[in-house]
Amino acid sequence: MNKKVLVVDDDPDVRLFNVTVVEENGFIPIEASNGEEGLKLLKEEKPDLVILDVLMPRQSGIRLYRELKTDKSLKNIHVILLSGIAKKTFLRSQKALTEFGGESVPEPEIYLEKPVEPEELSAAINQYIG
């Protein structure tokens, strides 16, 4: 059975790009336009991989990543962060949230800064589920 990849990004153009790369690699894409929708689909669809943006309406990728990595049933799902927000900011924000009393979460395995080339994203996807 083909593996599923959840693409979470509020920008429809970026979603289309990511979905196309996912399909080109023979996987099944699922789309969400914000963190809240993404979390709902994560629970329903249990994808094999998530390609996650950071700055989004409703719920950011920072909070979604925390929810994912602190949920027993979801924490083993691989995540590729793909954002215009710097990796340094992502790490600092997770640190700040942990200091405010949240659970500590692991660093993301792959953090790509937008824009990415299709080959770069393909390689990252295949590193996990290829």
Binding site: M56, S60, I85, L97
Partner: protein, 291 residues
């Protein structure tokens, strides 16, 4: 009534990041989430004779806004805030209302763009339109060409202008929730000179005493929450006297209720809240009637 999530509406030219920074103290009162909204006016990308819809221009404006929002978001994310952003094409008031509903916003923050008298007479101001259409409080930041620095701690010494209506009670509710960031509140009522046209000095004093007692009752509600509150009575034109009171009490912000006056009525008879939003230099928090 907690202010957990704010919508920060910006055109960049008049509402800068220092205004966002000045609101971050509200974290002590429960602020956790900042949503940015930039509305690209339709006239900038469409409705140009012979040119059709200018997609390239839209992309350019979106990316310019996006770069700015990424910088702002990084600064807030690093301090543990949750951040979201919308960049949309459309009419400002409508897009604000849509974002407020989508995001379940508690407070709208807008910058005031000064317009000429004639323009204001014929074209309804965006800010007033937002105030009229919003069911959420609206904080209006003011900028003059010489002064583009926002008040550092707008919630530190607010002045609440009250007419003892249900909306004023609503405002008291908001102030209670902001206790951690407030140092002192001045509660002011501006009496109508006609109400003081009594035949004897004693009758006038009785009216004053009655108003003072009502103000004391409101102050007591805040004092019970650990907020220092002082009453003040002024007589005359509400708009003018509220500004005088704000200056005299060294207020950092004016808080007032909004009425449900229609746009036309407001244009004809004037309104204290629209005056405060548009004409004064104080940041103004306008609280709509309870629904």
């Amino acid at each position: 009534m907690d202010i957990r999530k704010i919508l920060f509406v910006t055109k960049f030219e008049e509402l800068w990041f220092d205004a966002v920074e000045s609101l971050l103290d509200l974290r002590q009162a429960s602020l956790d989430h900042v949503v940015f909204l930039n509305v690209i006016e339709r006239e900038k990308v469409a409705l140009r004779r012979g040119k059709g819809y200018q997609k390239t221009e839209e992309v350019r404006l979106r990316e310019m806004a996006n770069i700015r929002f990424i910088n702002w978001a990084e600064s807030l994310f690093e301090r543990g805030f949750e951040v979201g952003a919308y960049i949309v094409v459309g009419s400002l008031a409508k897009q604000v209302v849509i974002a407020v509903e989508k995001e379940e916003i508690d407070l709208i923050v807008v910058g005031h763009e000064k317009k000429g008298r004639i323009e204001q007479l014929y074209k309804s101001s965006d800010i007033l339109e937002i105030i009229r259409r919003s069911r959420k409080p609206v904080l209006v930041y003011k900028y003059t060409p010489e002064n583009t620095i926002a008040v550092k701690k707008p919630f530190e010494r607010p002045l609440l202008a009250t007419c003892f209506s249900a909306t004023s009670q609503n405002a008291i509710g908001y102030l209670k929730r902001m206790q951690p960031v407030i140092k002192k509140v001045t509660i002011v009522h501006v009496a109508d000179p006609k109400a003081l046209k009594e035949t004897s000095a004693m009758d006038v004093q009785k009216t004053r005493k009655k108003i003072r007692r009502k103000l004391d009752d409101l102050c007591d509600l805040l004092i019970a929450e650990g907020i220092d509150a002082t009453p003040g009575i002024y007589v005359g034109s509400p708009s003018k006297e509220i500004v005088t009171a704000a200056k005299e009490s060294n207020a950092t912000m004016i808080i007032a209720g909004t009425s449900s006056n229609s746009s036309i009525k407001e244009k004809l008879v004037g309104s204290t809240s629209s005056f405060l939003a548009e004409k004064t230099l104080f940041p103004t928090l306008l609280i709509p009637p309870a629904t």
